[in-house]
C-alpha cells in the first residue's frame, strides 16, 4: 500500500487536480445571459415609442445594444461580482453608454490587462506622445458590482457599440 509521506509533491498535485471538477461542469450557482439587440423607434398613436428587437439588418454604422443579465441561483449571497466584456469584434464602443445599477464601470485600452475610469485612460501615439483615450480605443468594459447579490436576486449590465 502507498505510504502517503513518500508520494512526490508533483504526483500529489496531479491527483488533487484530477478530482477537482472543471468550472463549466459545476452546477450553475449564478446564471448569466447575454443578448444583442437593435433599438427601433416607432410612432404609435402619435407617440414616439422605442422598442428592442433581436439584431436586424446590421450594417456598418448601426448601433447595437448589448445586455447581460445575471441571477444568483444559490441560497446564499454572491460576492466579488465582476463582469468583463471585451468590445465585440469590428465594433466601436459608444461613449457613456455602459450602464448597470450598483456597479462601478471601468475600461481597458490594453487588451484587458489594466482597467481605469473613463477619464483616466491614456494611449500613446505612434510619435510617442500621449493623449486621452477615446471610446474607439477601448478594448474591454468591466462592471464591478458593489457589495453582494442576495440569493435569488438579479442584476443587469449593458452597453452600446457601433458596427465599424
Amino acid at each position: 500500500m502507498f505510504n502517503l509521506r513518500h508520494i512526490p509533491a508533483v504526483l500529489v498535485a496531479v491527483l488533487l487536480t484530477a478530482f477537482q471538477l472543471p468550472a463549466h461542469a459545476a452546477p450553475a450557482s449564478v446564471e448569466v445571459k447575454s443578448i444583442a439587440e437593435r433599438e427601433i423607434v416607432g410612432v404609435t398613436n402619435g407617440k414616439k415609442e422605442t422598442r428592442r428587437a433581436p439584431v436586424d439588418k446590421a450594417v456598418p454604422g448601426d448601433e447595437i445594444v448589448y445586455t447581460t443579465t445575471f441571477r444568483n441561483l444559490a441560497d446564499k449571497p454572491a460576492a466579488n461580482i465582476v463582469i468583463t466584456n471585451p468590445v465585440p469584434n469590428d465594433s466601436i464602443y459608444k461613449g457613456d453608454s455602459a450602464a448597470g445599477a450598483n456597479t462601478v464601470i471601468t475600461f481597458s485600452v490594453d487588451g484587458g490587462k489594466q482597467y481605469a475610469a473613463a477619464g483616466k485612460l491614456s494611449v500613446r501615439t505612434k510619435e510617442g506622445k500621449t493623449r486621452p483615450a477615446q471610446p474607439a480605443d477601448y478594448t474591454h468594459i468591466r462592471w464591478t458590482y458593489k457589495g453582494t447579490l442576495g440569493a435569488g436576486k438579479s442584476g443587469e449590465a449593458s452597453f452600446r457599440a457601433f458596427i465599424k
Binding site: 468550472a23 450557482s29 439588418k57 450594417v59 447581460t68 466579488n80 465582476v82 490594453d110 500613446r124
Partner: protein, 347 residues
C-alpha cells in the same frame, strides 16, 4: 490589491487592437460579430462563467456614387466624333459589386454649368477605363463595371458624336446612371440586387440600400446618377491687314502710296471673340517680317499708344521675344474685340 489598481490608473499604453477589416466603407459583409461576457464571483468557480450572445452577420450595405469627372462641360466642335464626357463611379458599400451603366440624353431646357441644354448628342455609348492608358482610347471596351471592391472607384466615359450642324454655344447634357449588381463572378455581369424585405435572418447576408438621391434617380434604390455636358466652342476671328502705307515720296491715300524701299507700313492685327466666357492669360504676338525694320514706339493697342519697354502697359517690342511685338491683355471676357497696330520700314 485596490491600491495597486489605483496606481495603475493613467498608465500609458499603445492601443493593442488593430482593426481587421476596417476601411471607409465599413466592415465587410458576411463578417460575424460575436460578443462574450465573463462573470466572476465568489460562487462562480475558479475560472468564472462565460456567456456569449448568438453571433450575427454584418449585412450588405449597398451604396454607390456617380460623379462628373470633368468639373465643366467638355469642349467640342461641330462634327466631332467620339466626344468624351468622363465620370467617376465609387463603391461606397462594404461588399464587392458589379454595376450596370446606362446613359441618357437630357431634354432641352435643363441647365448645367451655367448654360441651357438645346440639343442631344448622337449615338452615345458607355465605356469603362481599362487602366492601360489614361483617357478614352480603343482599349477601353468594357460596358459594365466588374468586381469593384469596397472603397474602389473606376473612370467611365460617355462617348457621343456631335452633329456637324451644331453651332457655337450649343449645349448637350447627358446623364450616366450606375445600378448595383451582384458581385462575385469575375468577368461576368452579376444579377440584379434588391433590398431584403422582411425579418432579418442573423446568419445570412441581407441587402440594405443606403445610396443617396442622384441627379436622375431616387435614394435607396441601389442606383446613382450624375450629369455631364458637351459645349460647342465659339470660333474666334484673327485677322492681319496692312492698315496704311506711306512711301518716301510724300504721297497721300488719295494719290496712292507705293510699297518700295523706305516705305512705312502700318500693320493691324485684330482678334474678335464672340459669345460668352472668359480667357485668362491672353497673349497676342506678331513677328516683324523679314526685310523690314520695326519703327520704335509705334505700338497702339485699342487706340492707346504703348511703349516698347516691358513697363506694365501690356505691350512691348523685342523684350518678351526678340524682334516680336507682344501684346498681353491678360484676363478678358467675351464678347470682345482687341486690335493693335505697329509700323515697320521696308529695308
Amino acid at each position: 490589491m485596490a491600491r495597486k489598481w489605483l496606481m495603475a490608473a493613467g498608465i500609458l499604453v499603445m492601443p493593442a487592437i488593430v482593426p481587421s477589416s476596417a476601411h471607409a466603407a465599413g466592415t465587410a459583409s458576411g463578417t460575424l460579430v460575436s460578443n462574450s461576457v465573463l462573470l466572476q464571483c465568489s460562487l462562480c468557480g475558479a475560472g468564472g462563467i462565460t456567456s456569449a450572445a448568438p453571433p450575427f452577420v454584418v449585412d450588405n450595405k449597398v451604396n454607390v456614387s456617380v460623379t462628373d469627372d470633368d468639373g465643366a462641360a467638355s469642349s467640342v466642335v461641330a462634327g466631332q466624333a467620339s466626344a468624351v464626357s468622363a465620370f467617376a463611379i465609387s463603391n461606397l458599400g462594404n461588399t464587392v459589386q458589379d454595376y450596370s451603366l446606362t446613359v441618357a440624353n437630357i431634354a432641352g431646357g435643363a441647365a448645367l454649368f451655367g448654360r441651357t441644354d438645346n440639343f442631344d448628342a448622337a449615338a452615345c455609348m458607355v465605356r469603362v477605363e481599362s487602366g492601360a492608358t489614361p483617357g478614352y482610347d480603343a482599349a477601353d471596351t468594357a460596358t459594365f463595371i466588374n468586381e469593384l471592391i469596397p472603397d474602389g472607384s473606376r473612370t467611365v466615359y460617355v462617348v457621343c458624336n456631335i452633329a456637324a450642324s451644331q453651332a457655337g454655344g450649343d449645349l448637350a447634357i447627358v446623364s450616366l446612371a450606375a445600378a448595383t449588381l451582384q458581385g462575385g463572378t469575375p468577368g461576368m455581369q452579376g444579377g440584379a440586387t434588391a433590398a431584403t424585405v422582411g425579418v432579418d435572418t442573423p446568419a445570412t447576408v441581407d441587402i440594405v440600400f443606403v445610396d443617396a438621391v442622384g441627379s436622375d434617380d431616387a435614394g435607396r434604390d441601389g442606383r446613382h446618377s450624375a450629369r455631364g455636358a458637351y459645349l460647342l466652342g465659339t470660333p474666334v476671328t484673327l485677322s492681319k491687314t496692312i492698315a496704311n502705307v506711306q512711301d518716301p515720296s510724300g504721297c497721300s491715300a488719295a494719290s496712292g502710296c507705293k510699297v518700295v524701299r523706305g516705305s512705312i507700313l502700318t500693320y493691324r492685327i485684330e482678334l474678335v471673340v464672340p459669345g460668352a466666357g472668359s480667357v485668362s492669360g491672353l497673349v497676342l504676338t506678331d513677328p516683324i517680317p523679314a526685310d523690314m525694320t520695326y519703327v520704335p514706339d509705334s505700338i497702339v493697342v485699342n487706340g492707346a499708344p504703348k511703349t516698347d519697354a516691358a513697363d506694365g502697359d501690356q505691350a512691348d517690342f523685342g523684350i518678351t521675344s526678340a524682334n516680336i511685338v507682344t501684346v498681353s491683355p491678360g484676363s478678358v471676357s467675351a464678347p470682345l474685340t482687341i486690335w493693335f497696330t505697329f509700323r515697320t520700314t521696308i529695308n
